[in-house]
Symmetry: C2
Subunit: 358 residues, 2 copies
Amino acid sequence: MGKTSITIKEIARQLGISKSTVSRALRDSSEISGATKERVIELARKLNYSPNPIALSLLKNQTHTIGIIVPDIDNPFFSTAISGVEDVAYSRGYHVMIYQSHESYEREMADVRHIADRRADGLIVSVASRSLHHQHFADLQEGGIPIVFFDRASNEVQTHKVLVDDYTSSFAGTEHLIEQGCRKIAHVSGPMSLAISRNRCNGYRDALRKHKLPQRDEWVLEAEYNQAGGTERAYQLMALRERPDGIFAASDRIAIGVHWALRQLGYRMPDDVALLGFSDLGVSSLLDPPLSSIAQPSFEMGRQSAELLLELIENKSTPVTYETRVLKTHLQVRGSSLKINAPVVQASAEIPEESYPS
Amino acid sequence: MGKTSITIKEIARQLGISKSTVSRALRDSSEISGATKERVIELARKLNYSPNPIALSLLKNQTHTIGIIVPDIDNPFFSTAISGVEDVAYSRGYHVMIYQSHESYEREMADVRHIADRRADGLIVSVASRSLHHQHFADLQEGGIPIVFFDRASNEVQTHKVLVDDYTSSFAGTEHLIEQGCRKIAHVSGPMSLAISRNRCNGYRDALRKHKLPQRDEWVLEAEYNQAGGTERAYQLMALRERPDGIFAASDRIAIGVHWALRQLGYRMPDDVALLGFSDLGVSSLLDPPLSSIAQPSFEMGRQSAELLLELIENKSTPVTYETRVLKTHLQVRGSSLKINAPVVQASAEIPEESYPS
C-alpha cells in the first residue's frame, strides 16, 4: 500500500484523529462531519505539494473504475465471472480493469498496489492460492477502497463475500459416487491454503463417514487447480495397491487432468473408475466420456459481486454488517460417473453453452 | 479521446506548433528541443488549473502501466497471448491492465478512452470484429500513447504489428485436406471485417484454385469466432444437396462447434467429413476425434508485442519505420483430418500442454 497508508497515517497523526476517519473524510462519507472533512481535505492538499498521484486522486471524484483480480483469466470459471462483473459494471457506467495473480502472493500484492495507485473505486477479488497473508487487502480497504471477495475469500478481511456452498455440494457429489456403487473413493483436492479446498475436502470426508466407507490418507492428494496437477495425482492414485474406484476432483481443471491420465492408463470411465469434477466448465461436456461435475453459477457470482461492490462504493458509509451470499450449485451427472442407462448418448445430446470457453 | 485531444490541440493552436510536436514534448521526446519543451510544459501547466487528470498525468513521469485490449479473455488464444505480454512486462517493471471489447466497437472505444484517462504508457490490442473505424487508435497514438497490434491489426494505423501468415497457413491447411482425398471443401470463415478472416479465406480459395477443385458460394459461410457460429454453419453446410467432404474452419472455436454438430448429425470424422481448425487450442487435442489445427505461437506473439511496445515507450522518439513481424505457424495433424494410420491413438498419446485452458 505504501504511499496511501503513509499519507492517511500522517494526516491522521497531525489532526489527532483515526486513519479510518481520514479515509472516510477523503471519500466524502456521510458519517463524517463537514468540519472534519474540511480539516482533512485542507491538510491533505497541503501535504500534497509533492507529486503523489494517489493522494491527489483521493481529493477528486470517483474514477468510475473497478478492478478485478483473479488467479487466471484462462480458467473459464473466472472469465465467466468477470463477464458477470462487467455486465453489471458497464450498465452502471463503470469501467473494469482485469488483473491476474497467477496464484502468486507477490503478484497479487503488486496488483493491489497498482489498483490503489491507479485509484480504482473498488476491488473484486478471488484470492491467489499462494497468498500467505491478506494484509494488502485490509490496507486497501482502510485506504478507502472497498473490496468484495468471490469464490476464494479471505477470513482476515471483513467485507461482502459471494460464495457457493462448497461443503454441501461436495458432500452431495461424493454421495452420488457412492450411489453409483463406488466404495473406494479418492479425492484430489486443491491447495489447502484456500478455504474452498478445505470445505470441499470436508464435504467428501463427511460423506464417506456417513456411509461408513474407508478413509485412507493416500487417497487424499493435494494439487494446484490445474490439469497438470490432476494428471500427476491420477498416476499416483492408480499406482496404489488399493486403487480407488471413484475419484472426486476439487475442480474441473484437475478432473480433466485425471480424465486424460485414466484414458492413457487404459481405464474405462465410469466402470473402472467413476470421475466427478467441480465447476462444470463448458469443455467438460465435450470430453469422452463427458465429465460429471458440480455446476457453479459463475456469471451470477460475478454479477452479485459487482452489485455488492457498487453498493459499497455509492453509499459511502460503512454498512453495519457485511453480507456473505451463498449461491446454489447443482450436480450435473454425465457419462464419467453415471453407470446405468447409456449415459454417454444422453449427455452428448446436450446443447453446448454459448459461454463455452474455446 | 475527448479531453486529451482537446488539450493538445489547444496547446498546439496557442503556440502555433503541430499537435504531434506538443505530444512529443509532453512525453519528453529527444526529438524536441529543450526550448520547445519548456514552452509546451509551461502552457500545459497554465491550461491545467481545472482538474484534468489526463493532462496532469501527461506532465508526470511514466505510470509503468500498459493496457491490453482483446475481444475475449475466455478465448485461450488471447489469454495465452496476454500471459506472453505479462511475461515481458512484469520482468521489466511494468504493470498490465487487461480489457475485453467483446467484439463491440463501442466497448473498444470506451476501453481506449479509459486507457487514455488512466494514463497507461502504451497499448497492445487485437481489434474487435465489429470495430467500424480505427480513429480511436489513431487518436490515442497522436495523444502520445504508443500502440502495437497483434493478430488482428488495423490497416488505418501505422505502428508495429505482430501477426502470423494467415494466408500461407490456410493455403497449406487446405492443401492438407486435399491430400487426404477431400474434393468438396467448405470454409467457415470469421467476420470479413477482419483482415485475418479475409487472408484465411483467400488462402483457402487459392489452394482450391491451384488444385482445380470446385468453388461454390454456398460452401463459404461467415460466422463469429465462436462455437455457436460453427455449429450453425455446419448444420447449413450438411443440409446442402452437395454436401462437403472437408471443412476448414477459420478458428478452433468455430471448428469445435462444427465438430459437435457433425457428431450430432451422425457423421464420422475424418471419413465422412475431414475437419481442420486454426489456432490449436489446448482443448482441441482432447476432442474425440482430436482436432487437426494450424498452431499459432500465441505466447510468443504476446511476448514480441510487449517487446516492441516497450521499445516505443522507452525510446520516446518515433521510429523511422514501423515493423510488421510475421511469426510461423505449423500444421498439427490429428484424427479429425488424417485418414490413414490410426491417427486417433497416436494423437491421444500427446502430452497435454500446461497452458491448457480448463
